[in-house]
């Protein structure tokens, strides 16, 4: 296997892990509202209307 393909395979593994993590955290890229990316601690935003 060529070097670039090995690198790509590793990237894919990373993407799968990222997907699994995002899915478990209920992340949706097309969401309108909700939390900031889950790895940012503490949401900033209005706490009350």
């Amino acid at each position: 296997m060529s070097r670039s393909s090995i690198f790509y395979a590793l990237i894919c593994l990373g993407l799968i892990a990222l997907y699994a993590s995002a899915a478990r955290n209920g992340y949706s890229p097309f969401a309108q509202g909700g939390a900031r990316p889950f790895f940012f601690y503490g949401s900033r935003g209005p706490t009350h209307k």
Binding site: Y8, A31, A35
Partner: protein
């Protein structure tokens, strides 16, 4: 196992294949390397053509000028693909635009081969013993397909030195047609009386140079690929597609087996028309996972030529952490010159992503508004508030459904696109290489006899 004694003495280590002779014209020392097979020999010292079919060399064409030495000198030996070859002859040909060189290689057990030098790459050619067959629109030899390339062209010999098994001469012309396969080329050479087929193998860079002791050549960037030069991206593309398919399969598996959403809460709410704001709080919305997505669906099926503004706030009871969303439910209908029409989504959904664990309330701030079709028959009173043909509504009933979990479709789509990115890049590079390699196709537009 023969009972016949040898009539000529042969040295035990074998006779040499090279005979040293003197040119009958200039007296210079020349070598005859393929006695019995060589027909014409061109003396490198004086350029005369000598007849090698008689026991004594006779001058056929007299000349008086030393011939220039080829890059690989006559008599050089080199090993290619496990076979040792000796350079016995050298000629230069041209198609009228580009020149190239050919070395006639000899091995007493293997016969002859041609080492073709186009100035950049070397190819090793052997005569075929049979005529290739046609398979669809390509030539086929041993199951391998060769695609047609540029139109037939004339190859003319411009320079000759050394010995050959045919009566070679400067100015000799043949009609050549080339066919290409990855790293292989099939050439048909015809001079009216007979046609011969040669199959050439494109040698990797440096192979021929190392075999015959000449300096290696550097590849130049951006040059047009040869007809037989396979795309360097093909192998990587195939590997990337396999990896992408596996990764996609895993993602799809994860996506399909993901837990689907669960309905947490459903409530009907009445939203009044034209009030500035009207807050309704529904709850509790229990979100037990560390984080989850929340989907709020608002169904307002009774809407008719009106719309609904909905401001959502998902507020955690203990921390008062709040997440905002907004939706519009709308439905419009009417008649015009094309017939009746209707449009608008009266069942909008809003997704909140990564909501932390907790017990939430959904605060809904809704307001309904009416809409009047400017193309409809004018009403007798100002059209802003209601229309005479419609029953007056005070409120719009909205059924709200709050769900948690699920909804990974968008995420799956995003990651499948990310996985596809690298194979897509490779595919584009491969397609670009192939388009440049097949540059001859443009000239074929008027030529349709194949």
């Amino acid at each position: 196992m023969s009972t016949v004694p040898r009539t000529r003495t042969r040295p035990p280590g074998g006779a040499s294949t090279v005979k040293a002779l003197n040119c009958p014209n200039c007296g210079g020392t020349i070598a005859l390397r393929a006695a019995g097979r060589t027909v014409s020999l061109l003396c490198e010292h004086c350029g005369s053509t000598l007849d090698a079919t008689q026991p004594d060399l006779r001058v056929i064409v007299e000349a008086n000028q030393a011939l220039h030495r080829p890059l690989i000198p006559l008599g050089s030996r080199g090993e290619l693909d496990g076979v040792t070859w000796e350079v016995t002859g050298y000629l230069e040909r041209t198609d009228g635009e580009e020149p190239w060189s050919e070395y006639l290689l000899f091995n007493p057990y293997e016969g002859y081969a041609f080492l073709v030098d186009d100035g950049d790459r070397f190819s090793l050619g052997r005569l075929l013993d049979r005529v290739p067959g046609w398979d669809n629109n390509a030539l086929s030899v041993d199951g391998r397909a060769f695609e047609p390339t540029w139109p037939t062209y004339e190859a003319r010999v411009t320079f000759v030195v050394g010995e050959f098994y045919w009566r070679v001469k400067v100015g000799e012309r043949v009609q050549v047609t080339d066919y290409a396969a990855p790293n292989l080329m099939l050439s048909a050479e015809e001079n009216g009386a007979e046609r011969s087929w040669t199959q050439s193998k494109l040698l990797d860079r440096g192979i021929a140079e190392a075999a015959f002791g000449i300096p290696a050549r550097q590849a130049s960037w951006g040059s047009t690929p040869r007809a037989d030069e396979p795309s360097p991206y093909r192998r990587r593309l195939r590997e990337a597609l396999v990896i992408a398919a596996l990764a996609a399969a895993v993602l799809l598996f994860l996506g399909i087996t993901a837990p689907s959403n669960q309905l947490v809460l459903t409530r009907q709410v009445d939203v009044p028309f034209d009030e500035k704001s009207h807050n309704v709080v529904i709850g509790p919305v229990d979100l037990p996972s560390t984080r989850q997505s929340v989907h709020v669906r608002a169904r307002a099926v009774t809407l008719n030529n009106s719309w609904l503004d909905l401001d959502y706030s998902l507020v955690e009871r203990r921390t008062q952490q709040s997440y905002a969303g907004y939706a519009t439910a709308e439905r419009y209908s009417g008649r015009d010159s094309d017939g009746s029409w209707s449009e608008g989504d009266n069942d909008p959904g809003v997704r909140f992503s990564s909501i932390p664990r907790g017990t939430y309330d959904l605060v809904i701030d809704g307001a309904a508004h009416r809409w009047v079709d400017p193309k409809a028959a004018p009403a007798s009173f100002t059209p802003i508030f209601g229309s005479a043909s419609l029953p007056a509504q005070d409120t719009v009933p909205v059924t709200l459904e709050v769900r948690r979990g699920g909804g990974t479709g968008g995420l799956l789509f995003l990651f499948l696109m990310l996985i596809a990115a690298w194979p897509a890049v490779l595919w584009l590079k491969h397609a670009h290489h192939e388009a440049r390699r097949r540059g001859w196709a443009q000239s074929d537009d008027e030529d349709d006899d194949e």
